[in-house]
């Protein structure tokens, strides 16, 4: 047992910290700190900054231009990025589509799409979820039918919860190509240009007023067969590969640490009954409890990372981290809204340009109550916590487990 970072890892941490503070614009980091959404341009700018350094694709193999960081390095970067209020990397192309292309795509697909992802030529979004499917992803109904000439699939149906689809020009989709077989066996993985006629993006406004997600409708959309990834009807396998493959940062330790630091900052400044809120024993108890939980989870995370760095694939532990990680993040969101007291009530709406100028935010915490509601999604999307519990029970209650 050795709980310290190696000198190399510490040096790497210093390099990351230095880079984030010097290369990432302060205005960008301020926006993140205040819970504001980046514009498309800002997001692309951030990607370009990382790409210039060679750090945009930490998990890609070097042959495709990736940094090939191990799990510990990735963890260090995520921790530092969160503490520096650096933006998140938009993951759809970089860590969701790319691993599938690298594993199952054709040479042509790899050569064409992967450099475009690094260079920011395409903005990808993900087309998995459908209305009515929810946690039962494999019940998807969007169809793709090969035309008689065998040159195009014709796609019809609807996807939903498509994150940042409003910015995207490309979408990777799971579509049904065979209705005669078991649900999971008739699904294919298609790359679709969103400028094709018949594709329509409709915004979904979330309960905190933000426009993060969309519906994407397909009406007789023609997709060239070259855009099929791997084999027809094998798409479910590729999607599942992705789900089990790309599970780092599932615990969100960095986000929680940054969030907790912000709560403590406010609680030291905010007064109640003539004393800083942080000296109120009941508020202090809430903070302490989540901090203790976070200290423990952070070590669980490191244990799994250290296994992953040694080549062991995380199994059911990923589901455990997902549950604990979201509970802790949501608890910190709850603390943040408590901390600011009545100032949690104003509605900072992104929808109303300029309308936010008058919104009082004495602690510079941004829309804490909005964030509280927005982050209820953490336990719903990406495999709900109920789905995770089911996975844990299935594995751990199996005979001989």
């Amino acid at each position: 047992m050795d709980m310290s970072y190696s000198p190399e890892e510490q040096a790497f941490r210093e390099e990351v910290r230095e880079f984030l503070h010097t290369e990432v614009p302060a205005e960008m980091r301020d926006k993140i700190r205040l819970g504001k959404e980046l514009t498309k341009d800002e997001q692309e700018n951030y990607h370009a900054i990382l790409n210039a350094k060679g750090w945009l694709a930490p998990n890609w193999p070097a042959e495709f231009g990736g940094a090939e960081w191990n799990a510990v390095q990735r963890h260090i970067f995520e921790e530092e990025a969160a503490m520096a209020n650096a933006p998140r990397i938009v993951p759809f192309g970089l860590s969701m589509l790319a691993p599938v292309l690298q594993k199952f795509g054709s040479k042509e697909q790899q050569d064409y799409w992967l450099p475009r992802i690094l260079n920011g030529d395409d903005w990808w979004c993900q087309g998995y979820s459908e209305p009515g499917a929810g946690s039962d992803l494999a019940s998807l109904k969007t169809t793709a039918v090969l035309n008689d000439a065998g040159t195009h699939y014709v796609v019809n149906g609807q996807k939903t919860w498509t994150t940042l689809g409003q910015h995207a020009n490309m979408i990777f989709c799971l579509v049904r190509t065979n209705k005669e077989v078991k649900q999971q066996e008739g699904i294919s993985f298609l790359l679709i240009d969103m400028n094709t006629p018949g594709v329509e993006v409709r915004p979904i406004i979330l309960l905190d007023g933000t426009h993060e997600v969309n519906e994407v409708w397909f009406t007789d959309v023609e997709v060239p067969v070259e855009n099929l990834v791997g084999e027809q009807d094998k798409g479910w396998t590729y999607a599942k590969y992705l789900l089990t493959h790309e599970r780092t940062n599932i615990a969100g330790v960095g986000f929680s640490q940054a969030g907790l630091a912000a709560v403590k900052r406010v609680a030291k400044a905010e007064n109640t009954n003539g004393k800083p809120l942080m000296q109120n024993p009941h508020f202090a108890a809430r903070v302490a409890q989540v901090e203790m939980d976070l200290m423990a989870m952070s070590t669980t995370n490191l244990r799994i990372i250290s296994k992953a760095a040694a080549g062991e694939a995380p199994g059911v532990e990923a589901s455990m981290l997902k549950i604990k990680g979201t509970v802790i993040r949501q608890e910190i969101n709850d603390l943040a809204r408590r901390a600011v007291g009545p100032y949690a009530m104003p509605f900072a709406s992104e929808g109303l340009e300029g309308a936010n100028d008058q919104i009082p935010d004495p602690h510079e915490m941004g829309p804490v109550a909005g964030d509280y509601f927005n982050n209820r999604k953490l336990s719903i999307f990406g495999g709900s916590n109920e789905i995770q519990r089911g996975i844990i029970a299935k594995v751990k209650l199996a005979p001989g487990a």
């Binding site: 009954n273 109120n280 809430r286 009082p360």
Partner: protein
């Protein structure tokens, strides 16, 4: 012992519930939310007509109710429908302060729905402490800043607390003043609220006010007690809607080929919510029923704390049991959940009332 509503209250509840069901559905309410004023003058007038405001005042004050249970009945129904019009701040708080200060003619206008008020008491660093007033009264000239003042933009008059003497945290020396909306030196910086309605930061620079009372703390404390009962009842109504929506969704929505409410883990969580709903209902009954007794504050703090805990649980679980659809702004639960959770930020949050309960029960 009798836990049935009186006939009058039962009638009020029935007519109010019927009106809101017919006239205040999700589409209407979401349109109000998007409007500039954040409220509907028509709804306000019709509800005043229906007696909703009159029920908040005693016969002596010109109303026909005014007791804890009258207020609880009204606000439970308003909460059930997620009503955003400021009955709590303008009519109940504003009106009852004026009634306590003998402004009978103005109260009459309030009951008729014709006079709009705002209570400007909290300040940027007062959090939930009622005694914390820095705004200074030099005679009737007021200087200071008031925070998150509900309904300030729409109010004909603001009721402003200001310190005539003493330190920032003294309960003595706080007076209440009436300030006209167009008084020189008054700046109102308005903004919308996450759970609907509007509030404002109010800046007073040599603003001339009319003295209402020099016993401001007591008046504020009493009306805050009333308002807390109302807020608890409103949250209860909203929680009823949240659980109803969730029950319906669980039995309608299908996944893996069956209604998701037939999955035992979800069904049991629904059962736990219903257990907490009974607790919440009883807490509101206690807060309303002991209002005119020595146990008033103990029961109010007990109720507000319990509603804070149960409310959070119900809001979060209702969202979680729904899944994604509850995350969308247009779905009824989104608004209702915000009403429930934001109730924790008024008149003292869960921890504030925990501490107060501890103090009161040690006394």
């Amino acid at each position: 012992m009798n836990f049935d509503l009186t006939e009058e209250r039962q009638m009020l509840q029935d007519s109010l519930r019927r009106y809101l069901r017919d006239k205040y559905d999700t589409a209407v309410r979401n349109k109000i939310l998007e409007s500039d004023s954040g409220m509907s003058a028509e709804i306000w007038a019709e509800l005043a007509e229906l007696g909703v405001i009159g029920a908040l005042f005693t016969e002596e004050q010109g109303g026909f109710g005014g007791a804890g249970f009258d207020i609880a009945v009204v606000f439970e129904e308003l909460g059930r429908a997620g009503v955003v019009e400021p009955f709590l701040d303008s009519a109940l708080m504003g009106g009852r302060i004026l009634a306590a200060c003998g402004k009978d003619d103005m109260v009459e206008e309030v009951i008729a729905g014709a006079l709009h008020l705002a209570v400007a008491h909290g300040e940027p660093d007062s959090r939930y402490d009622l005694n914390h007033v820095r705004t200074a009264a030099d005679g009737t000239k007021l200087n200071g800043r008031k925070a998150v003042v509900m309904n300030a933009e729409a109010a004909d008059h603001l009721i402003v607390s200001a310190r005539m003497s003493g330190q920032a945290a003294d309960t003595d020396g706080i007076a209440l003043f009436l300030v006209a909306k167009d008084a020189p030196g008054l700046t109102i910086q308005g903004y919308p609220l996450l759970a609907g309605g509007r509030a404002a930061e109010v800046i007073l620079e040599d603003v001339e006010g009319t003295l209402l009372t020099e016993d401001g703390y007591k008046v504020i404390a009493d009306v805050t007690a009333l308002a807390t009962v109302a807020q608890c009842a409103e949250a209860l109504g909203a929680m009823e809607t949240a659980t109803h929506l969730t029950k319906d969704y669980l039995m309608t929505r299908k996944q893996f080929g069956r209604p998701i409410g037939t999955f035992q883990a979800l069904a049991f969580r629904m059962a736990d919510l219903l257990v907490e709903m009974e607790q919440a209902r009883s807490a509101v009954i206690n807060a309303a029923g002991f209002f005119d007794t020595a146990k008033r504050d103990l029961n109010i703090s007990g109720a507000k704390n319990l509603m804070g805990r149960a409310g959070r649980l119900v809001a979060e679980e209702a969202i979680q049991l729904h899944g994604g659809i509850a995350m969308t702004q247009e779905y009824e639960l989104a608004h209702i959940a915000k009403r429930i959770v934001m109730a924790d930020h008024r008149f003292g949050d869960t921890d504030y009332h925990l501490e107060r309960f501890i103090e009161l029960s040690a006394a």
